[in-house]
C-alpha cells in the first residue's frame, strides 16, 4: 500500500483522468496531483488518486521495475499489491 503505480494518461476530464496501466484502463482522480496533467503524461497513482506527474525522461526506469514484477507468472505478494493499486481506480 505504500507503493504507488505509474500509468499513462489517455484523457483528462476536469478532476478525473482515464489512465492506462499496461492495458488496464481506470478512471483516476486528480485532486491530489502535484501539477497539471495532459494526455501522454505519466502519473504515479496510489489508492485511485494521482500523487505525482512523473517527469518526462524518467519514465522508462520507473516502468521497468513494475514490468519485472508483473511478468511474474506465479502468485507473488508484491505483484499482488501492485495489481491491487491498478485495480483501485473506477471502472471505465
Amino acid at each position: 500500500m505504500c507503493l504507488g503505480v505509474p500509468g499513462k494518461v489517455l484523457e483528462v476530464n476536469d478532476m478525473t483522468a482515464l489512465v492506462d496501466f499496461w492495458g488496464v484502463r481506470k478512471q483516476v482522480l486528480l485532486h491530489t496531483v502535484d501539477s497539471p496533467v495532459a494526455p501522454g503524461d505519466y502519473v504515479l497513482v496510489h489508492v485511485g488518486f494521482a500523487i505525482r506527474r512523473i517527469p518526462t525522461g524518467q519514465i522508462e526506469e520507473t516502468l521497468a521495475f513494475y514490468e519485472t514484477l508483473l511478468r511474474t507468472a506465479e502468485e507473488d505478494l508484491m505483484a499482488a499489491d501492485v495489481q491491487e493499486e491498478m485495480g483501485a481506480g473506477e471502472e471505465t
Binding site: C2, H31, I51, D76, A88
Partner: protein, 375 residues
C-alpha cells in the same frame, strides 16, 4: 518458500547489482563496529526480501524494517472502534489488509461472519460511492500513512453525501522515526526513507530529524538498484560522519514534495498523540480530523462505548506474539516461536502476518535471507 523465492532473484541489470555489492563490501571491510540501517516501509521490505538483497550485504551491515506497515501499527482499540460500529449496523468500508487484523474481541472478518456489513474497498473514493448508493450510514475505516491520508482528505473535501463518515486510524511517519531512533536497543545509524511517502512530504522534512538525532537519511526508491544505491550512499555518509539528507529517488521526490496534496492533508487532518500498536506512545503520530470536519468524523458522529463493550472480553491475542518487537526493529520473525507454525497467513496471530506489508507475512512469503537460523 525459500526455493521459490530464490527463483525470483532476477535483476534488471546484474552488473550494476554486482558493482553496488562490491562497493558495500569495500565500504564495510574495515568497520570497527557493525552498521544498522532502518527502513520504514512495507514496500521496501517486500523488495528487499523478494529480491534477496540481504544475502548480498556484507555481514557487518544490517538492514532492518521498522514500523513501516500501517496496518500493523493500527492500535487494537482502533480496530475495536471499527468492529463496534460495524456491529451497530453501519456499513463499514475498509482496505482488504485491515479485514483480518485481530481486535480485542474480534476482527472485522469475524464481525462480518456474524452478520455485520463490512465491505472491502481499494480506494477511499469507493467508500464514497457506496455511501451515494446506500441509505444507511457508511463509515470508512481509514488506515495508512500520509500518502493514503491525502486521498481520504480529498474525499472529505469533495462534498461527500451526509451518510459518509471517516474513522481515521491514519498515521504520520516522521514522528515515529524520532521514537525508534531513540530506542536504545536498535542503535540505528541511518534511515532509508520511503520514496512514495516522501513524494507527498518532500525530502526537506527529514532535515529537522537529522539535526535532532544526528542520523543521516537517504530517500530511496523501490527497485533493487534504487535500494542498493541508497544503501551505498547511507554507508558512505555514516563512514564520513556526515549528517544530512540525500535524495536518491529524484524522479519521484522533490525537496518540497507535493504541495497540493499537503494542503489537502493539513486542511482536513491534524496530528494527535497516540499509541502505535506494539511500538510506543508516539507524540503527534496519529492523523485525526480537525474539529472543523467533525461532521465527517465517525468519532464525533457516533458514541463509541468501548469500555462497556470490552468489559467481558476474554484475553485473546497470544502473549507470545513478537509483532511489537519486530516492528520496533529489535526482533526478527525468526525470533518468534509462533512464526510459520501457529502463525501463518491463513490463520494469523499478529497483524504482521496479516498485512502484505507486515514483516512476518513478507518473510513467510520470500524468506528473510539473513544469515542465521531459519525456520
Amino acid at each position: 518458500m525459500t526455493s521459490k523465492a530464490s527463483e525470483r532473484l532476477e535483476f534488471r541489470d546484474p552488473k550494476q547489482v554486482q558493482a553496488f555489492q562490491r562497493a558495500l563490501e569495500h565500504l564495510c571491510a574495515d568497520l570497527k563496529t557493525p552498521i544498522s540501517i532502518m527502513h520504514v516501509c512495507g514496500s521496501h521490505e517486500q523488495s528487499i526480501a523478494r529480491f534477496g538483497l540481504r544475502s548480498l550485504l556484507p555481514p557487518n551491515l544490517q538492514v532492518i524494517m521498522g514500523p513501516g506497515c500501517p496496518v500493523c501499527v493500527t492500535d487494537m482499540p482502533e480496530v475495536d472502534e471499527a468492529v463496534y460500529l460495524a456491529e451497530q449496523g453501519v456499513i463499514l468500508a475498509t482496505f482488504g489488509d485491515m479485514f483480518r487484523v485481530p481486535g480485542t474481541v474480534k476482527s472485522l472478518a469475524e464481525a462480518k461472519a456474524e452478520g455485520a456489513d463490512v465491505r472491502i474497498v481499494y480506494s477511499p473514493w469507493e467508500a464514497l460511492q457506496i455511501a451515494r448508493k446506500a441509505e444507511r450510514e457508511v463509515v470508512f475505516f481509514a488506515t495508512g500513512f500520509e500518502t493514503t491520508a491525502v486521498a481520504t482528505a480529498a474525499v472529505i473535501l469533495s462534498g461527500p453525501p451526509p451518510n459518509l463518515s471517516v474513522l481515521s486510524a491514519h498515521k504520520y511517519i516522521p514522528p515515529v522515526m524520532e521514537i525508534v531512533a531513540e530506542m536504545p536497543q536498535t542503535r540505528i545509524q541511518g534511515f532509508l526513507a520511503a520514496g512514495h511517502a516522501a513524494t507527498i512530504t518532500g525530502w526537506k522534512i527529514f532535515e529537522r530529524f537529522v539535526e535532532r538525532h544526528g542520523i543521516p537519511v537517504v530517500v530511496g526508491g523501490f527497485e533493487p538498484l534504487d535500494i542498493l544505491s541508497a544503501l551505498v550512499q547511507l554507508v558512505e555518509l555514516i563512514r564520513r560522519g556526515e549528517r544530512r539528507v540525500v535524495n536518491a529517488y529524484p524522479r519521484c521526490v522533490t525537496p518540497e514534495g507535493n504541495r497540493n496534496a499537503q494542503r489537502l492533508l493539513w486542511e482536513v487532518f491534524q496530528t494527535e498523540s497516540g499509541v502505535w500498536r506494539g511500538i510506543a506512545y508516539v507524540p503527534n503520530g496519529n492523523l485525526r480530523l480537525r474539529p472543523t470536519y467533525a461532521w465527517a468524523d465517525a468519532r464525533a458522529r457516533f458514541q463509541i462505548r468501548l469500555s462497556e463493550w470490552l468489559h467481558d472480553a476474554p484475553p485473546r491475542l497470544t502473549q507470545e506474539c513478537l509483532c511489537g518487537n519486530i516492528m520496533a526493529g529489535i526482533a526478527t520473525p525468526y525470533d518468534c516461536r509462533l512464526f510459520g507454525k501457529e502463525c501463518v497467513p491463513e490463520s494469523p496471530v499478529g497483524a504482521c502476518m496479516v498485512s502484505s506489508e507486515g514483516t512476518c507475512r513478507i518473510w513467510y512469503e520470500y524468506g528473510g535471507h539473513v544469515k542465521g537460523p531459519t525456520p
